[in-house]
Amino acid sequence: MLAEKYAAQIEKILAKYPDKRSAVMPLLYISQEEYGHITDEGIVEVAAIIGEDPTAVKSVAGFYTMYSKQPKGTYWLQVCTDLPCALKGADQFYADLKDYLEITDDGGTSPDGLFTVEHVMCLAACDKAPMLQCNFHYVENLDMEKMKAHLAEWRAEAAGSKTPKKKA
């Protein structure tokens, strides 16, 4: 149960706003962290905390792209292929990365279940292209060589007992 497990964090969030409803977005992040993606269970719990109808919470979750409606790999890689990055080779980088990880479709996950790769719009790092976010953390000025090193690091991290970098 989110309400118990994250009681202190939730209390702090609710204290920020005069209206509990404003807490829906931070609470959805907590539920995503807890359950790996947005689940019905998480939605019902968030709705109960803020005293709203679950359908309202569900529509908020549906509107915003950072709430993942499906399970993702341990590492969610969002590669920017918007215009400035594309002018600096981001399309090729994105294609190479998918190939390397044996992913065929945009938003697909590598066979080992570790990496989900998706292309996204401008991430406010256009001077550091090609770039991506891994679980919402910036990784910039990339090429495939550097990328392979990052992937090896993340693989090792996931293989060890060390919990991968958290989203929340």
Binding site: K16, P18, D19, R21, S22, A23, V24, M25, P26, L28, Y29, I50, E52, S59, V60, F63, Y64, T65, M66, Y67, D82, L83, P84, A86, L87, K88, M121, C122, L123, A124, A125, C126, D127, K128, A129, Q133, F136, H137, Y138, K167
Partner: protein, 420 residues
């Protein structure tokens, strides 16, 4: 025209570690806030008005004037900082928040004092996850030192500062969509009036000032140095410095803080290290994906950059997200890429925008696949023109801009793709 290295915003370039509170205060930090607290709120607004500071979020609206719209009789008022920074090609606010965060906090609190706000909310795009968490720590420190929160600088006035993370939606940069989102709803623009500054139109229906990060980061300097000093920087109608986010085909992409009035030529060649591979510059998007594209003629390259300077070329400076494209760039491809952004990001509330972006994208795909004829290109222009001025928010105009301006200014780039 001197392009001196005056850093009002990016002070980390002059002072190492200015993100730390003790370094910031040692170098004049929070002096602007203290000074403002010794002035009447209306006097603070007058100084900002006189400084000619204009909004850096894109529209260039006079900041002091905006603050003066807030009805003082209302007991609850808010300052909301727009840190959504999602415009294609824009990456200036992130750097301010990462490297000089206290200056934003200070500027926001001066705004809050000026309108007698009860709280400040900083709305950051969701991808600024790490930025927001670092900012929370800086706010906490400022509170502990008495520069935010309770009884600020011993004045008896209190104002809390909070961060709020979005979750991936470009439209939340539009100020009324942002307010909806902050209230926990879908980020869709509101019908105006009432405007955010009015009762009924702002956050939780209370009068609210919404300002961009860069706008507010200018305010402490203005309060400390005065409006006249500020007006000495820049051009007649555009005062101060502006951060130019330079990206695309340049050797040294990055943020360049320069006085208004510098030219594209100076920006690209003196500061940006020239075009990659020694190529010529063909086209410029001066305001990210949302402003019209222009051909990089000598006249364009030598025009002083200001809010007023680009109108004669049918474009705007907007947020000054300057995307450079070299002579080999296919502008039809540019149109298609930028249009995909808008199709993806339309909030879907109004039909001309939702349907228009869908069709623009579809027909542009056809152009890129070599399956289109001239009448398809004409159709693109038609659809785009019909979107303009018919939508609830300016997104509809933004989304039409790339299609219209690329076809108008680079017709040959489209012809190359047409079926014989």
């Amino acid at each position: 025209m001197t392009t001196n290295g005056l850093n009002i915003i990016y002070r980390e370039r002059d002072v190492k570690n200015i993100h730390e509170l003790k370094v910031y205060t040692k170098h004049g930090g929070y002096e602007g806030l203290k000074k403002a607290l010794g002035m009447k709120p209306a006097e603070v607004i007058d100084v900002v008005k006189a400084s000619n500071l204009r909004g850096r979020g894109g529209a260039g609206f006079p900041t002091g004037l905006k603050w003066s719209f807030i009805p003082q009789s209302e007991p609850v008022k808010y300052v909301v900082v727009n840190a959504d920074e999602s415009e294609t090609g824009t990456f200036k606010d992130r750097q301010i928040m990462e490297n000089n965060p206290h200056q934003l906090i200070e500027g926001a609190l001066i705004a809050a004092w000026a309108i007698q706000a009860t709280a400040v909310y900083i709305y950051l795009r969701g991808e600024f996850w790490d930025v927001a968490h670092a900012l929370d720590k800086h706010i906490e420190e400022a509170e502990k030192a008495g520069f935010a929160g309770e009884n600020i600088a011993g004045s008896g006035w209190s104002c809390k500062v909070y961060t709020h993370l979005g979750a991936g939606a470009y439209i939340c940069g539009e100020e009324t969509a942002l307010l909806e989102s902050l209230e926990g709803k879908l980020g869709q623009p509101r019908v105006r009036p009432p405007f955010p500054a009015q009762k009924g139109g702002g956050l939780y229906a209370e009068p609210t000032v919404v300002n961009n990060v860069e706008t507010l980061a200018n305010v402490p300097w203005i309060i400390v140095n005065g409006a006249d000093e500020y007006k000495k920087i820049g051009t007649d109608k555009s005062s101060g410095t502006k951060v130019f986010c330079l990206s695309g085909h340049v050797n040294k992409p990055g943020n360049y803080e320069l006085p208004f009035g510098i030219t594209f030529r100076e920006l690209i060649f003196e500061h940006g290290g020239g075009v990659t591979n020694g190529k010529k510059v063909k086209a410029i998007l001066p305001s990210g994906g949302s402003g019209p594209i222009i051909e990089a003629t000598d006249e364009v390259l030598d025009t002083p950059l200001s809010y007023e300077g680009l109108s004669k070329f049918g474009s705007i400076l907007g947020s000054a997200s300057v995307i450079i494209m070299d002579e080999d760039t296919d502008i039809a491809w540019v149109a298609s890429r930028v249009t995909k952004f808008f199709k993806h990001e339309s909030c879907g509330k109004c039909t001309p925008c939702r349907e228009g972006t869908y069709w623009l994208d579809k027909v542009l795909d056809r152009v890129m696949a070599g399956e289109a004829e001239q009448r398809d290109v004409d159709l693109i222009s038609n659809v785009a023109h019909n979107m303009q001025g018919t939508t609830l928010c300016a997104f509809g105009d933004f989304a039409a801009n790339p299609a219209i301006s690329t076809i108008k200014n680079f017709p040959d780039d489209f012809k190359k793709h047409l079926k014989a």
